[in-house]
């Protein structure tokens, strides 16, 4: 299918936006444009027939990453808020020329590829979909056909959470100056977010959605609560839902963070008894995938919350 004018605008806008945000002299503008870039990316995913990705990009790519960036901006040392221009010199020039050459060559290769591209795995995925235990092809690939990758990806997330929160918990120094109006909004928005997360998780089995999108919403709810409730004397939130306060500290938080990974690992190893690594027995795939996804959504939510706290939180991340 040939590209329409809209596609040219979209793709061109994306590239232009990328260039502006990367080479702007105003750091804050770069950060704001980056969020816009993420949202535009989500539109592109829809255009390319990948609504799962659009959801994930909006929630994680633009949402969480953007929030991380803005949070980081607020903690920059005063001298660090100015963007220091661009390194120049022969090496910069050389790398620029080299990268331009790389881009031209790659586009050339892509153009050559366009005519004689092979089919990919779509047919095979669809053919095996009935055995996978879920109806959504993306979920089938993520949790069944290439479940091993997803399992390791949970490991990556766990590792990042571990590193970012080294020495600190989910910190609640941020809500000190929050307004009561915001608190009122958060009080009824947070449960709604949790509800929606549950819905997305369940929906992932047959339509766009799933553990990652659900986890991102959970993290959003957590971040909201952490932002609006002021800390008590012990650093824990003084108000707000008690359960939230309890489950975002210490052993319970660590348990929550690793629950998805541990459940996944447990299933993978247990399944070695009768088959291969992560080979679901016939008929059990759907149930096991739901189990894994539920645990994974909780862990992803907790991990994203911790990542945000590590960047935005009052205490030094990684300080001993």
């Amino acid at each position: 299918m040939t590209a329409s004018a809209l596609d040219f605008v979209l793709a061109g806008g994306l590239v232009a936006l990328g260039a502006v945000l990367l080479f702007s002299h105003d750091l804050f503008r770069s950060l704001v444009l980056f969020v816009v870039y993420g949202l535009l990316m989500a539109v592109v995913w829809v255009r390319l027939g990948a609504p799962d990705l659009a959801l994930a990009e909006a929630a994680v790519g633009a949402g969480v990453t953007g929030a991380l960036m803005l949070a980081a901006w607020h903690r920059l040392p005063a001298a660090g808020r100015r963007a220091e221009g661009v390194v120049s010199g022969p090496w910069a020039l050389l790398s620029g020329v080299a990268l331009a050459g790389v881009a031209a060559a790659l586009i050339g290769v892509l153009a050559g590829l366009d005519a004689q591209r092979e089919g990919g795995l779509q047919q095979q995925v669809l053919a095996r979909l009935p055995e996978s235990g879920v109806e959504s092809p993306v979920t089938a690939v993520l949790l069944n056909f290439r479940g091993y990758d997803t399992f390791l990806e949970l490991g990556v997330l766990l590792l990042a959470a571990l590193l970012v929160r080294l020495g600190g918990g989910a910190d609640f120094g941020l809500g000190a100056k929050s307004s009561s109006v915001l608190r009122g909004l958060a009080d009824w928005l947070a449960p709604l977010l949790v509800l929606t997360a549950g819905y997305l998780l369940w929906r992932g089995g047959h339509a766009p959605g799933g553990a990652f999108q659900a986890g991102a919403l959970l993290a959003g709810a957590g971040i909201l609560l952490a932002l609006v409730y002021p800390p008590g004397a012990d650093g824990r939130p003084a108000g707000g839902p008690r359960a939230f306060a309890r489950w975002t500290q210490g052993l319970r938080l660590r348990g929550l963070l690793s629950a998805g990974f541990l459940v996944f690992l447990g299933v993978a190893l247990a399944l070695l008894v009768g088959g291969n690594l992560l080979q679901y027995p016939a008929g059990w795939a759907g149930a096991l995938i739901l189990l894994i996804e539920a645990a994974a959504a909780l862990s992803i939510g907790a991990a994203l919350l911790v990542l945000f706290m590590g960047v935005a939180g009052g205490r030094e991340a990684g300080a001993p």
Binding site: G155, L265, L278
Partner: protein
């Protein structure tokens, strides 16, 4: 079910299960970290030995994760080279775990997060060695890189922090190049499975994808001139961590390159592209050695030595397609002996740092009286790094020289010899200090032998590898593209 069959089925679980489970549990209950670290490292070493035996006896193993054969699922395979890498990683990790116990005792205990990161790094390396799926390898690379960066941060201080951040950024840039290469590969050929691609792929897209992946791995391997991040990161991390990073993490990237260029790339492409690797490798050999000669701190010197020694591997790459078996086995031996020797050196440097309080080379006078066992570690490691007989390093260099001469590649011969002499120069610069009479006291009291024995074991293994060369060389060929070729031919 006889034991061989049991292993043939359970091996992915053995290699990934204990380390990942231990890592996650050590994260949840930090107090268990120490016990889990020691136990899992030992278990992992035992598993590696078992699997080496299994592969040596019964040939390469394969496993389809999820029960889905490639291209739909993810293929895992354990051939001779992979199992040797697994063994090297397991030995260094075990020695490092034993050493970490006493290394960190000087600071109270291991910093929070050390044990989970250590175990995750072990698992990630294992996963990387056994994967036959390009995208899965990407995830493994990221897992490895993240754990490695985290461990470097534990060195404490601003220098370590800057080194870790630089390492992270360079590593991520490299990963992205690799990732794009994988995307191109999938887009063009509809699969990311290495064996399938090897049989199907051809055309400009293959070349472009390989170039991208190679560029990414160059960054990750720290080959000259992409090495700038390596010395501060490896020199600044806690010693057991440096051991693991220098011995294995950078070599893992080389391992992937070996796979890509010898199993995936067609011969014509390899012959066209690999001389680049040879040139970079030669430059790295000399540059790293010269900087090692100039380094004032022991750990930094060892780190530069890694830059130099990695150069040998990249130098060997262009020789491989033609003089296959000898160079393949030689590279395997070199990777293995470098891993063991370099691990030993860094662990020894850690002991020096803890006992002497610094690691400035000028201040090491009379170390042989103070820490004789650690100096013995340096001597043995030096034997292997320089390539003096009968070490594993010697056999490796012998094989590489053999292949280079047989092909008439005299530049490679020259670099190999110059590199050996330079390695002798920088290693003996340290050893010469150690043998002076600067220290009048006797042996240092209160240095736990437990801190020194693991390093000694690694160094001795690096030397003893030379005596098992026949067996290792043959094992490295199992399942490789050169299986069945004669190891040492005579020029026609």
């Amino acid at each position: 079910m006889n034991p061989g069959d049991w292993l043939a089925h359970w091996w992915p679980g053995l290699l990934l299960g204990p380390a990942l489970l231990g890592g996650a549990l050590a994260f949840v209950w930090p107090r268990l970290g120490f016990a889990l670290g020691q136990g899992v490292a030992l278990l992992n070493a035992l598993a590696a030995v078992l699997l080496v035996w299994r592969v040596a006896v019964g040939g390469p193993l394969a496993h389809a994760a999820g029960g889905w054969p490639a291209p739909l699922g993810i293929g895992l395979r354990l051939d001779g080279l992979a199992v040797l890498m697994v063994l090297a990683a397991a030995l260094v990790a075990w020695a490092g775990a034993l050493n970490a116990r006493s290394y960190f005792r000087a600071h109270g205990q291991a910093p929070e997060g050390f044990w989970p990161l250590w175990l995750f790094l072990m698992a990630a390396l294992n996963g990387l060695f056994i994967s036959a799926d390009l995208f899965n390898l990407y995830v493994m690379l990221e897992l490895t890189g993240l754990a490695a960066v985290g461990l470097v941060v534990l060195g404490g201080g601003t220098d370590s922090l800057a080194a870790a951040l630089r390492y992270l950024l360079v590593g991520l840039g490299g990963s992205l190049c690799y990732l794009l290469g994988v995307g191109l590969m999938y887009g063009a050929y509809g699969t990311v499975d290495l064996p399938l691609l090897a049989s199907q792929a051809s055309g400009p897209a293959l070349g472009a994808a390989l170039a991208l992946m190679t560029a990414g791995l160059f960054f990750k391997a720290g080959i000259f001139p992409f090495h700038f991040w390596l010395p501060p990161a490896h020199g600044g991390a806690p010693a057991p961590v440096s051991a693991m990073l220098s011995a294995l993490v950078v070599e893992a990237a080389f391992y992937l390159l070996m796979r890509l260029w010898l199993e995936l790339a067609p011969l014509s492409l390899a012959e066209l592209a690999l001389p680049v690797s040879g040139v970079l490798g030669s430059a790295a050999v000399v540059w790293g050695a010269v900087n090692a000669l100039r380094a004032e701190r022991l750990k930094l010197m060892i780190a530069y030595s890694t830059v130099s020694q990695l150069g040998y591997l990249f130098l060997a790459l262009p020789l491989m397609p033609l003089a296959g078996a000898a160079i393949w086995s030689g590279a395997a031996l070199l990777v293995l002996s470098h891993a063991l020797a370099k691990g030993a050196l860094f662990l020894g440097a850690g002991t020096v740092l803890n006992v002497v309080g610094h690691d400035r080379i000028r201040g090491l006078n009379g170390l042989a009286q103070r820490l004789p066992l650690t100096v013995a570690v340096f001597v043995l490691a030096a034997v292997s790094l320089i390539g003096l007989p009968p070490s594993g390093g010697f056999l490796a260099k012998w094989l590489l020289l053999n292949g280079a001469i047989a092909q008439g590649q005299w530049w490679a011969v020259a670099v190999l010899l110059v590199g050996s002499v330079l390695a002798g120069a920088y290693m003996f610069r340290v050893l010469g200090r150690c043998f002076t009479y600067g220290h009048t006291g006797g042996r240092e009291p209160g240095v736990a032998l437990a801190a020194q024995w693991p390093a000694f074991g690694l160094a001795a293994a690096a030397v003893a590898l030379g005596l098992a060369g026949s067996w290792v060389g043959a094992l490295a060929l199992a399942g490789s593209p050169f299986e069945g070729d004669a190891l040492l031919g005579v020029a026609p």
